[in-house]
Symmetry: C2
Subunit: 212 residues, 2 copies
């Protein structure tokens, strides 16, 4: 079997996808079809995983009580975070919209099955955290594939993992990796919202190739 | 500014990129130009990061003594892993080629600066591990962008993070996330090497959309 050729035109579009991906917090309420989510999870399953362990578990949060519990968890954690800040940072933080959980048509929690037998432990004796990292890459594949369909994803990390895990009634060996909002974005931008609002700017250390 | 349109043809190529990406352990020895690595690191810097913290740090391992120290670390960790297995698993494990460190023209270590002030801590009070997850996504962007240029990446997780961190003489607040081999692959495949060799097969739980 011979590999597909990825030409310069594709690479330019791929770079645009990386640049326009965005963490979205402003969603339209238009629904996302279940079939689309299933398709995106299938794409995500092509992600790399340590020892071919495939430990990601995608959970669609349909139930309104569970969804409200997640929103309450974000609001509590966000209020706590604000209380931990002072001065100009606190003033600015209070103006930021850090999740689109109320508007997003889809809430999707992603877990890592830390006891999966798949992969037979290969590759994770000295760096067991690579199991969670595998789930992170599946999330990012989902994110990129969604964006290529015009669908936005927002990763809500200001949330209490124990509360979410309990609210969603998942097996105890599933570790929460991400709580995602999914939906069509209100608008598109090539720069992060935290850059546009002046919270943070590009860090030159992030584009440096260090030598050793 | 209006977003680029990602059409069906692009999405099909993107899905092919996900399918043909691969963790590569068989490299040709042809060099990779420094300019190419710099370009890939710039693409990686478009990755999502918690609070726009951009905590990834890419380190090119040029020095032969350091490179040999990394290879020795892999060989030690791999021998330990084999000793931890028994029966058919041990027999099979002993036949697997789990890194291309000797042949790969480029060794690239990727760290997470766990004390970076960028992002001012936003988004990581309740889930501090999202900082490392941000570096993981930068690694995966690098990987996909490399593959789109025909360049293969292999993530070596069978390695001792403390040994690598010491050998590379990096700041103490840099946490090792991945040790990568980079180079042109000897051949291309749409399935993981661990699937082709019979170590593990596709896990149906990885393509399931669970409902709650």
């Amino acid at each position: 079997m011979s590999a597909p050729l990825f030409d310069a035109a594709f690479r330019e579009r791929l770079a645009e996808l990386f640049r326009w991906r965005r963490d979205v917090r402003h969603f339209r309420r238009d629904p996302i079809a279940d079939a689309t989510l299933v398709e995106l999870v299938h794409e995500a399953a092509c992600s790399p995983s340590v020892g071919f362990s495939q430990p990601w578990r995608f959970v669609l949060v349909r139930d309104d009580t569970r969804r409200r519990a997640a929103i309450a968890s974000f609001e509590r954690a966000n209020a706590d975070a604000l209380r931990g800040m002072s001065g100009a940072d606190a003033e600015k933080y209070a103006t930021l919209k850090l999740s689109g959980m109320r508007e997003a048509p889809v809430h999707l929690a992603v877990f890592c099955d830390i006891e999966t037998p798949s992969g037979k432990g290969l590759g994770r004796a000295t760096m067991p955290e690579t199991l969670a990292y595998s789930a992170v890459m599946a999330i990012y594949t989902f994110w990129l594939a969604a964006r290529a369909q015009g669908i936005g994803v927002g990763w809500v990390s200001i949330i209490e993992p124990d509360v979410i895990t309990a609210a969603l009634d998942v097996p105890s060996q599933w570790k929460l990796i991400a709580y995602l909002c999914v939906g069509y974005p209100e608008d598109d931008h090539p720069t992060p919202e935290l850059e546009r609002t002046g919270w943070e700017s590009r860090d030159p250390r992030a584009t440096t190739l260090h030598n050793r």
